[in-house]
Symmetry: C3
Subunit: 157 residues, 3 copies
């Protein structure tokens, strides 16, 4: 079931290709649009009137507020030291590691091809395409690069 009944979808949510997504255990707000080849995991929350474009991955621990743009091929993360197995060689499951959280505030935009470490991205901020965000992004700032650095304010340029 590519859209699990465990997902709580708001009114008017549009998932253009329900057979080409993997969406489960998350919340998606009213009127938000989700493209193909997207995974949204259990425990993630996406606000209202957002766009989540194709090929993006939103993991547990990510909260996205309203009117946020998530470009194509954006990868969120929730762990800075990922491992497949424990010291003892057992596969790590739902526990055995520490979940780190990410918050993307209202009206922020994340450009395509970006990778987001567990941070807070401020209100109205713009993450340029192809960025790797390793630190918090202030409200209304424009960040680019790997690692992403502030290069301006979206209100003045």
């Amino acid at each position: 079931m590519p859209i699990s009944s465990s997902a709580a979808l708001g009114e008017g949510v549009c998932i253009s290709h329900p057979d080409l997504v993997n969406i489960y255990g998350c919340r998606i707000g009213d009127e938000t649009r989700v493209g193909p080849f997207v995974e949204i995991q259990r425990g993630a929350s996406v606000g209202a009137r957002c766009k989540v474009q194709s090929h993006s991955f939103i993991c547990e621990g990510v909260t996205i507020e309203d009117e946020v743009f998530v470009g194509h091929g954006v990868m969120f993360t929730n762990d800075r030291r990922p491992r497949a197995t424990s010291d003892g060689g057992q596969l790590l499951g739902l526990d055995g590691w520490t979940l780190l959280r990410t918050l993307v505030k209202t009206r922020a935009s994340i450009g395509s091809g970006s990778t987001i470490l567990p941070v807070t991205i401020g209100m109205g901020a713009l993450v340029g395409a192809g960025s790797v965000v390793t630190e918090d992004v202030p409200d209304y700032s424009l960040v680019v690069g790997n690692p992403a650095r502030v290069i301006g304010d979206v209100r003045t340029r």
Copy 2:
């Protein structure tokens, strides 16, 4: 319908996994090969004898000439200031923003994992894997990095 009837496909186009793509309203030239998990949008144009590898996204406004290699996980873009909603908080649809165009000239190659801002990539140029291309790429040049910079000429190295 993962391959829409609105797509104009040339002779001998090979889409290896028609159930695992989203292709609509675009033109694809003769003998071009397209891998799985690819989206090619309305208004995009891909030439003849190209390879478009898995996980790539080609948006409206992108023109790809003949014999171009598009690696795996390549993200094209058509907007430098993407937003989900208007100032008034309405979801942006097919209008309400300015489409920027990208041209990839004959025999260029774009390495896997690259992100391409709206630019022109010159004939025979090579974009190294994982690059973020923010400016035009001259013919036959080799560019790498984030942002991508010219580091050589493909005819001499």
Copy 3:
């Protein structure tokens, strides 16, 4: 057939969404878990108790040992000069180019959104999210950036 009978799967391999992958002609070791939107090509080898997360691409020429973590949206490569066609303008097929190999040693972890050129990644090494790995990575080292550089040792930080 998204999971081809030509793939040799070990015991207890878990492919969570068999209709949303493209897996053929490869070997996957016991208990390894594979997410959706993953392609694993002919001739690739993945060890036991690995995690291969969503949106990743593992090509021919890649050998992944046991207990390796491959994050989301990781792109492997096997060619430093990819082209669509020969000098004569014919599409390149299974031959006509030189396969370069990649080895990922036991217990290494590759962060999400990384691109891996044909290299060796050492035992227990950690590739930070969003990295572009262009050179060999020593055992137990932590590398980040584009191009990826060593910034520490995972045993001491």
